[in-house]
Amino acid sequence: MGPPVIGNGADLSDLGVEVDSSAGPPVGASLQDWEQAMPRVAHYLRALGVRDHRDHARLIEAIRSRFVRRVSTHLVADATETGIEATAALLDAWIAAQLGPGVPEPQQRMARAAVLGGVVEGWVAVWSGRVDEPLGERIIAASLSPAPEPAPLSMVPQRIGPCCHRLVRSIAKVLRGKPAERPHQPADPGRTS
C-alpha cells in the first residue's frame, strides 16, 4: 500500500519528502497480484450493495479487466488499492454513462449518493450488465440537491456606533501617558462599515 496522496496526484516526493533511493527501484503490483486483491474487491462490492452471485461474477470480471489494464500501463504500488480504485472507477464510469454526456461533477456525485443510498432499485443488475435498462432518468430523479440554486442578496454590515468607545479609548490613552485621540482622526478601525 502506498503513501497517502491527496489532490492533483501529488505524493510525498512531490511535497519535498525525501525518498530512500538506496532501496532500489520500486516494486509495483503485477498481473499475478489480482488473486491477492480479488477477495477485498469482492468484499467491497458487497459493501456497495452487490448481493446477487450473477452480478458479482460479472462485475468481478469487469474489474479484473480494468485492473489488468491499469497494472499493464502504470506502475502501481498496491494491488488491493488498485483493485478498489478500479471498482470505484467502474461505478463512476457507469453512472456517468447512465446520466449522459455533459453532466457536471457535482451532479454525478449526487447521483452516486442516490444509487448507493438504495433509492434506485435494481441498479446493480444494470451495472453488471445482466439487465439492459436505461436508468438515467430514475437516477436523476433520485438525485436530490442539498440546496436550491443560489439567489444571493447583499447583506453588508451596518454601522453601529457604540456608546463612548472613543471617549473610553482616549481616557485609557491619557492614563497610559499617550496623546489622546484627536477628533479628526478616522473612526474606530474595528468598525466594519
Binding site: 491527496i6 449518493a113 430523479a141
Partner: protein, 696 residues
C-alpha cells in the same frame, strides 16, 4: 426609509406614557418611603448607596409588575380567552396568496439530529395538513462541528428528502467555517439564498410551530407590508422533570399576561427573541448585517445576542417589529434542570451585557434602548440584589452597635427613638406585592375563563401549583442570584464564554454535579447564616428565605431534576399546562416522529462511529462527499491531511480529536484517498455478511 402601513394598526403614544408613568410613580413612591427612613439624622453614604440600589431594583420590579398588570387588564377585557391548547385559531387564518416562497430556517449547532429532524418533520406535516405546504421550504442551516453529528444530520436530511421527493423542499448545508455563530449562519443563508424567499421563519433547534400558525404569520405579514418582523411568543413544552414542569407551568400561566402587557406598550417597536418569528428577508438583509464591535471580547468583537440588535436595526430603518401575543401554536423546549438553566444563562449573560455598549448607540429608537437596557438588567439585577443584601446586612450591623439613648442632659422625660417599622414594612410589602401579584392576576384570569381553567387542571389544583411554584421560586432565587452574579463577575474579568451546545434532553443531576455547581453556594449560605445569627440576630430572621435557598441548593437542585416527581405531579394534576391537558396536533406529530422506529441510515450492517462510517461505508461516504463544497486544498493543507491519514492508519481512529476527524471529513480529495487506503488495508475495515448461498 419611511413606510406607511396600508392597514391600520393602533400604536398610540399614550400607551407608553401610561406605562412609563406608572413605573416611575411606583418607583418614586417606594423610594420616598425608604428615603424617609434614611433621612432621620441625616443620610450616611452607606444609606445613600442603599437608596440608589433600591431605586434601580424597584424600577426593574415595577416595570415587570406594570407589564403584567396591563396584560392582565387586556386579557380580562377580551371577550374570550386564548384557545386553551388548541393550535388552530378561533378564526381560521386567512390563506395568504402563495406567489412567493417562505423559508423555514433552523440554524443548528451540535444538536441531536433525531430531535431536530423530528421537529421539522412535525412542522412540515402540520403544514401539509393545512394543504398549503407547497409555498414553504425548509432549510437546516448546520454549524455543527461534531463529526458524528454532522454525518447523522446528512443522513437524516437525505432520508427525509427522499421521502418527500420532488420538487425538493428540504435543504441542508453545513458551513465550512462557523464565523459569527448563529447570526453569521443566518447571514450566510440570506447572502446565498435570500433572494429566493419573501419571508423566513427562524426556528431554534427545539422550536415547534403549527402549520396554521405559520400560515397566519405569513398572512399577517402580507397584510402589513410595513412590518419586517413578527415575533410569536413560544410556550415551553415537552419537558418532564419537576424543575422543567414547574417552569413550563409558570411560563405558560404567567407568560401570557406578560406578553400581552409587552405587546401593549411596545407596539410597533417590539422585540425579536431570536426564534419563532417571521422576518421579511429583503428588509433583514438590507439592514441587519451585524458589524463587529470595536474592542476586545467580552464587550467587543462579535455581537453575541444578535436578536435585540437586529430588531433595533430594523426599527432604525423604519420597519415595524410586532409581537403577536394573540397567536398560539408556537412552542419551544426549556432546560431540564436548574444547572442546565444556569448554563444557558451563562451563555446569554455575556451577550446581554455586551448590549450595555449599544444602549446609547446612534440612531436607535428610544424603546429599543429600553429593550437593550432591560436585557442588561436581566443579568445585572442579580449582582445588584446581592450587593443590596450585603449592604443591608452591614447597615443592620452598624445599627445594632448604636445603643438607644433615652435621656438627654437634665431633661427628665425619656425621648423615645423614632420607629420606622411601619415605613420599612410598607416598603417590604410593596416589593413583595409587585413580585407576587402577577401570580394572583393569572389565577383571577383562570377564575373567569372556564376553558382556560379546565386546561390548567381546575382552579384548586392551579392554585396549589402556584403556591408550590412560588415556594420553589423563592428557593431558586438566591441560587440564580449567585450564579448570575458569578457569571457577571467572570465576564467583567474578561473570562470569555465559549459556545457550548445546550443539554436539551431530560437527564438527572447527580450528587457530584450538584456539589460542584452548588457547593460554594451552600458554604456561603452557612457562613452568612452563622455571621448574621451571631452578629446581627435581628437581621437573621429576615434573611432566612435567602439562606434557605442557599443551604438547600444541592438537594433542591437534585430533587427537582428528577423525572418521577414531575410525573407524579402530573398524575396529581399539578403544574398542568394546556399543552399537557390537550396536546396540540404538532406536538402529537413530534411525539410520533420521535417514537417511530427509524429505518437504517445507509447500510444497516455497519456499526461504529458515524464519522468513520462516512469514511468507510460507501453509501455514507458517497452521500457525504456529494454534500461537500468545491474546494482544492492548498499545499499546506494537503500536508496536514496526509499527516492525519498517517495517524489514523498507525494509531487508529480513536487517536484523532473531533476537530481532526472533522478536518478529514471536510476535504473531498483527502476523504477519497482515505476511503481507498482503508479499504486496501488488512484487515478489512468492516466485516459484512457473505453473499447468500448460490441457488442450485
Amino acid at each position: 426609509m419611511t413606510r406607511t402601513s396600508s392597514v391600520r394598526h393602533p400604536d398610540p403614544g399614550y400607551r407608553r406614557v401610561i406605562y412609563f408613568g406608572l413605573v416611575l410613580l411606583t418607583t418614586l413612591g417606594a423610594m420616598s418611603l425608604l428615603s424617609g427612613v434614611f433621612q432621620e439624622g441625616g443620610t450616611t453614604p452607606l444609606e445613600f448607596i442603599l437608596l440608589l440600589l433600591y431605586a434601580v431594583l424597584i424600577l426593574w420590579i415595577s416595570a415587570s409588575f406594570w407589564t403584567a398588570a396591563i396584560g392582565f387588564i387586556l386579557l380580562l377585557r377580551q371577550d374570550h380567552g386564548q384557545p386553551a391548547s388548541d393550535d388552530v385559531h378561533a378564526s381560521r387564518p386567512k390563506d395568504p396568496p402563495m406567489g412567493f416562497k417562505t423559508a423555514l430556517v433552523m440554524p443548528v449547532y451540535n444538536e441531536d439530529p433525531a430531535r431536530v429532524f423530528a421537529g421539522l418533520r412535525a412542522i412540515e406535516q402540520s403544514l401539509q395538513e393545512t394543504g398549503r405546504a407547497a409555498g414553504f421550504e425548509i432549510f437546516v442551516l448546520s454549524d455543527t462541528r461534531d463529526p458524528d453529528i454532522w454525518v447523522e444530520e446528512e443522513m437524516q436530511w437525505r432520508k427525509w428528502a427522499v421521502e418527500l421527493g420532488h420538487p425538493a423542499r428540504v435543504f441542508y448545508r453545513n458551513r465550512v467555517e462557523n464565523t459569527s455563530r448563529k447570526s453569521g449562519n443566518l447571514a450566510d443563508f440570506c447572502r446565498r439564498w435570500g433572494g429566493r424567499y419573501r419571508y423566513m421563519i427562524v426556528l431554534d433547534a427545539d422550536s415547534l410551530m403549527s402549520g396554521s400558525t405559520v400560515l397566519e404569520m405569513v398572512a399577517r405579514m402580507e397584510q402589513h407590508p410595513d412590518v419586517a418582523l413578527l415575533q410569536v411568543p413560544p410556550v415551553p413544552v415537552n419537558r418532564v422533570s419537576l424543575f422543567a414542569r414547574v417552569l413550563q407551568f409558570a411560563s405558560s400561566l404567567y407568560g401570557r399576561i406578560f406578553v400581552a402587557g409587552l405587546s401593549y406598550w411596545q407596539g410597533d417597536t417590539s422585540n425579536y427573541w431570536g426564534h419563532n418569528a417571521i422576518i421579511r428577508v429583503e428588509a433583514f438583509a438590507a439592514h441587519c448585517g451585524l458589524p463587529e464591535l470595536p474592542g476586545r471580547e467580552p464587550f467587543g468583537g462579535e455581537i453575541l445576542s444578535h436578536d435585540f440588535v437586529e430588531a433595533a436595526l430594523l426599527r432604525r430603518a423604519g420597519w415595524k417589529v410586532w409581537l403577536a401575543y394573540d397567536l398560539g401554536g408556537s412552542y419551544e423546549e426549556i432546560p431540564p434542570t436548574l444547572i442546565d438553566y444556569a448554563k444557558r444563562d451563562r451563555r446569554w449573560c455575556q451577550g446581554n451585557l455586551q448590549h450595555v455598549r449599544l444602549v446609547f448607540a446612534e440612531g436607535f429608537k428610544p424603546l429599543n434602548r429600553v429593550h437593550l437596557a432591560m436585557g442588561v438588567m436581566s443579568y445585572m439585577a442579580s449582582p445588584l440584589w446581592l450587593l443590596f443584601l450585603l449592604l443591608t446586612g452591614v447597615q443592620a450591623y452598624l445599627d445594632s452597635l448604636d445603643a438607644p439613648v433615652y435621656f438627654f442632659g437634665d431633661y427628665l422625660l425619656p425621648i423615645w427613638p423614632v420607629s420606622y417599622v411601619v415605613e420599612m414594612t410598607t416598603v417590604l410589602w410593596v416589593t413583595l406585592a409587585m413580585l407576587f401579584l402577577p401570580k394572583l392576576f393569572a389565577l383571577v384570569l383562570l377564575g373567569v375563563r372556564p376553558r382556560l381553567r379546565a386546561a390548567y387542571g381546575g382552579l384548586p389544583r392551579a392554585t396549589l401549583s402556584v403556591l408550590i411554584e412560588s415556594l420553589l421560586s423563592v428557593l431558586y432565587a438566591p441560587v440564580l442570584m449567585l450564579f448570575q452574579s458569578k457569571f457577571v463577575g467572570a465576564i467583567l474579568l474578561r473570562r470569555i464564554v465559549g459556545w457550548p451546545p445546550q443539554q436539551r434532553g431530560d437527564h438527572q443531576t447527580g450528587f457530584a454535579e450538584a456539589l460542584a455547581a452548588h457547593g460554594d453556594q451552600t458554604l456561603l449560605g452557612v457562613a452568612t447564616g452563622v455571621l448574621t445569627y451571631f452578629y446581627v440576630p435581628a437581621f437573621f430572621w429576615w434573611f432566612t428565605p435567602v439562606l434557605a435557598g442557599m443551604l438547600l441548593a444541592i438537594p433542591v437542585s437534585m430533587a427537582t431534576s428528577r423525572v418521577w416527581p414531575g410525573q407524579r405531579a402530573r398524575a396529581a394534576g399539578l403544574f398542568l399546562t394546556p399543552e399537557e391537558s390537550m396536546p396540540p396536533r404538532v406536538l402529537q406529530l413530534l411525539s410520533e416522529n420521535l417514537g417511530a422506529v427509524a429505518g437504517p441510515l445507509c447500510s444497516g450492517e455497519m456499526a461504529g462511529d458515524l464519522w468513520y462510517r462516512a469514511v468507510i461505508d460507501p453509501c455514507a461516504y458517497a452521500l457525504h462527499v456529494s454534500l461537500l463544497p468545491e474546494e482544492v486544498p492548498n499545499r499546506r493543507r494537503r500536508h496536514y491531511l496526509e499527516g492525519l491519514i498517517f495517524q489514523l492508519q498507525d494509531e487508529g481512529p480513536q487517536s484523532l480529536t473531533p476537530s481532526e476527524k472533522r478536518e478529514l471529513l471536510s476535504h473531498r480529495d483527502g476523504l477519497e484517498e482515505l476511503h481507498l487506503l482503508l479499504w486496501a488495508t488488512q484487515p478489512a475495515p468492516i466485516s459484512l455478511a457473505p453473499l447468500p448461498a448460490r441457488a442450485t
